[in-house]
């Protein structure tokens, strides 16, 4: 079992390096999932909703930490509670559009820092991008993951990718990224939304 990182400083340090991501995410889950889940389940959600929202909370938190937008003005716990509530109210709003819940949402929205609010509000566009990337197919995702997430040397990729040499791997990467670029080009609204989010996050 992976050891739990108990202090906020240790967690933040781990979140900033992808190689410690596993340990950091597991620590967040062990320390905060149960309590965040209670909020969702006490507010018309179920266990599955709580798990989905928690994943969003973690992803958003990692993004904010990496962008330096978590300034440590409050504890990680308080910050995650705020994200959890905001993401769930956003989801309720999307699901029901009920006036009462809209009011609650607007009220809660005002209480969240504008920086965080902007990141969360891009979730829908990000979700669409996720669906777009799924269209690339497994072989493309595998190559792009090796290049852009795992940051592996090309020669190491040959040990698990079904390609003859490094040049073939590189060619595959070009084709795949180009394909993604074309998909985004075909959906200018989505590309524009994504650009706005990413520009904001840079």
């Amino acid at each position: 079992m992976v050891a739990t990182l108990h202090s906020d400083q240790a967690l933040l340090a781990a979140l900033k390096t992808d190689k410690d991501l596993d340990k950091a995410v597991r620590s967040l889950y062990r320390q905060y999932f149960d309590s965040l889940s209670i909020y969702i389940q006490q507010n018309n959600g179920n266990r599955q909703d709580a798990e989905d929202v928690f994943q969003e909370v973690v992803v958003t938190f990692i993004e904010l930490v990496n962008q330096g937008k978590f300034r440590g003005d409050c504890s990680i716990k308080t910050f995650l509670y705020s994200l959890n509530r905001h993401i769930w109210l956003n989801e309720i709003k999307k699901r029901t559009r009920m006036q009462v819940r809209n009011e609650k949402f607007e009220l809660a929205k005002e209480q969240v820092e504008p920086d965080i609010s902007a990141v969360i509000s891009g979730r829908e566009a990000r979700q669409q991008v996720m669906e777009l990337i799924e269209q690339l197919g497994d072989s493309c995702k595998q190559v792009l993951l090796a290049f852009y997430y795992q940051d592996l040397p090309v020669k190491d990729m040959l040990s698990f990718l079904p390609y003859e040499n490094e040049q073939v791997v590189r060619n595959k990467k070009y084709k795949c990224l180009k394909k993604l670029e074309e998909l985004l080009h075909q959906d200018p609204v989505l590309a524009s939304n994504l650009k706005t989010i990413l520009a904001y996050e840079q």
């Binding site: 596993d22 995410v25 990000r126 990337i133 852009y148 997430y149 070009y174 994504l194 990413l198």
Partner: protein
């Protein structure tokens, strides 16, 4: 768009795979070509989008693994809680048992089990025997006096006399009276108060402190579901009676 600069070259530029000369060449082309700049922006966007996708997938995978790994822990923790509660209950049960065992005696058990017998109203008062009338009036001393003076007694008289003896604390005489009634019933096709007599006979032995005999009689009653007192002789009562029997033998 510049003819010399391909998407592939732009991606290499983006990924820092070009040497200084090549980079300078791309940057010159970019400066002069808006379409090329737009393409570079879209490629950059695609790359950033993929990085986000990758992180999201990684987090989803880690959380999925963590849920699987922590689930048995939760189950074990729940099991531990259940076992802890069970252990506490067991300890309380044992303590309760010890207390019950130490406080157990025949008189206590008899008092808990004994209920005064009440005659039904099946007969008119004038047709009832003097003994029965005395019993109905709760004159147990008169019942005993009539019983002891009279030689011609019915099985009902024996039964009521047994009840009167028990009521006045004379278990020895109650046993004799109940046994008389049961013996008479033995030769009758219709056996009045048979189940009642068996039950109160057992109670009389308990009152007298003859626990083994009482236990034997109560167990017989308990083993007959059709017996009028089978439900009165419950498992908990029999258990305590068995404890008492063992306690007295030790």
């Amino acid at each position: 768009m510049s003819n010399e600069i391909t998407s592939e070259l732009l991606i290499q530029y983006l990924d820092n795979e070009l040497d200084a000369v090549e980079r300078a060449s791309v940057e010159t082309a970019l400066a002069a070509d808006q379409d090329l700049q737009n393409l570079l922006e879209r490629l950059k966007l695609a790359k950033l989008a993929f990085s986000q996708y990758a992180r999201r997938e990684a987090v989803a995978g880690i959380l999925s693994d963590e849920k699987k790994e922590s689930a048995p822990v939760v189950k074990i923790n729940r099991m531990r809680s259940v076992l802890r509660i069970a252990a506490v209950l067991l300890v309380l049960l044992v303590i309760g048992g010890i207390v019950q065992y130490s406080l157990l005696d025949a008189q206590r058990l008899y008092s808990a089990q004994y209920k005064q017998y009440t005659l039904g109203t099946t007969r008119a008062a004038e047709s009832a025997s003097p003994l029965e009338r005395a019993y109905r009036n709760h004159n147990f001393g008169d019942v005993i006096a009539i019983y002891e003076k009279n030689d011609s007694l019915s099985n009902t008289d024996h039964f009521l006399a047994g009840q009167a003896y028990l009521q006045t604390g004379n278990a020895t005489r109650a046993i004799v009276a109940f046994e008389n009634q049961i013996n008479i019933n033995g030769v009758l096709p219709f056996k009045p108060y048979q189940d009642d007599a068996e039950y109160y006979l057992a109670l009389s032995y308990l009152k007298l402190g003859e626990v083994s005999t009482a236990l034997e009689l109560f167990e017989k009653i308990n083993q007959q579901p059709q017996h009028a007192y089978s439900k009165e002789v419950g498992t908990w009562f029999l258990t305590r009676l068995r404890w008492l029997s063992k306690k007295e033998k030790n």
